[in-house]
Symmetry: C2
Subunit: 160 residues, 2 copies
């Protein structure tokens, strides 16, 4: 059986969640994953799916995945954001990552968007090199800002 | 007439587009705005709106706006992304920015998300200070990566 890159279905979700947890360990935050199978099913396969996921299947097993969704740029309009691109450690270097990456770009073009975007950790040099080689641009002067639930609740009760 | 912070409607879009162009000038990219009124109307007020926009109205005129949409974190689930927060130059320092910011956080909590996020240019120190003071965390080690349409098309035709 050959490698297959295809859109995911509900039955893939347990293996997809495994991959998500594997990436969190790689990024040194194993306890950060709060998402459940039910949440993935609801947001990915409900009435108005929020995300689209592609998987790399080898001999019937999911060995990689790429999850993306739409964003809206007030400059460019609708864009595709690649949230996660994960390949199981023992399968890295076998071309699955590149195949998934191309699949997402192909999907973005099919959807008619003018831009595809994602983030990368500044210490992940192999990834940065790969993205640049593929034609992407890395912007080091945009910082990510996040506010968690506790901070959000605190904010509403106090003057700014 | 008092200041009103409210959800935008279609009739606000011409003034919203003016604000978008004003921000692009502030960020030294006046020609970067390709979005049209038709696109804003389609993506914000169509059958499945991609974004939600709030406006600050003073004496019947739109003096500020905050545009946000949902994203999907494979760690936290659905999040709210604040794409733009803009106040007309002559109205800065009058509290409209803070009021719009709070409105978005309030909306995010109403929607049940665990995180709100956005980006900031690393030279925009007043904004960084404001966000930190409000309880947000700034991550300097995540870099933004973008691929434009030409690069996407090129990628599909060549080996990686």
């Amino acid at each position: 059986m050959e490698n297959v890159i295809r859109k995911s279905n509900k039955e893939d979700l347990p293996q997809i969640l495994e991959l998500i947890k594997e990436l969190a360990e790689f990024e040194k935050e194993p306890d950060a994953v709060e998402v459940t199978l039910q949440d993935l099913e609801k947001e990915g396969f409900g009435e108005q799916p929020l995300f689209t996921c592609f998987v790399a299947e080898v001999k019937g097993k999911i060995e990689g995945m790429a999850l993306c969704y739409f964003r809206y740029s007030t400059w460019k309009g609708r864009t595709v954001h690649l949230e996660d691109l994960i390949v199981r450690e023992q399968k890295r270097g076998t071309g699955l990552g590149s195949a998934l990456y191309k699949k997402v770009i192909e999907y973005a073009l099919e959807q008619g968007v003018k831009r595809c975007e994602w983030v990368v950790l500044d210490w992940n040099q192999p990834a940065i090199d790969f993205y640049k080689r593929s034609g992407a641009t890395v912007f080091e002067n945009w910082n990510t800002v996040q506010m968690n639930e506790t901070a959000m609740k605190n904010l509403l009760g106090k003057p700014l």
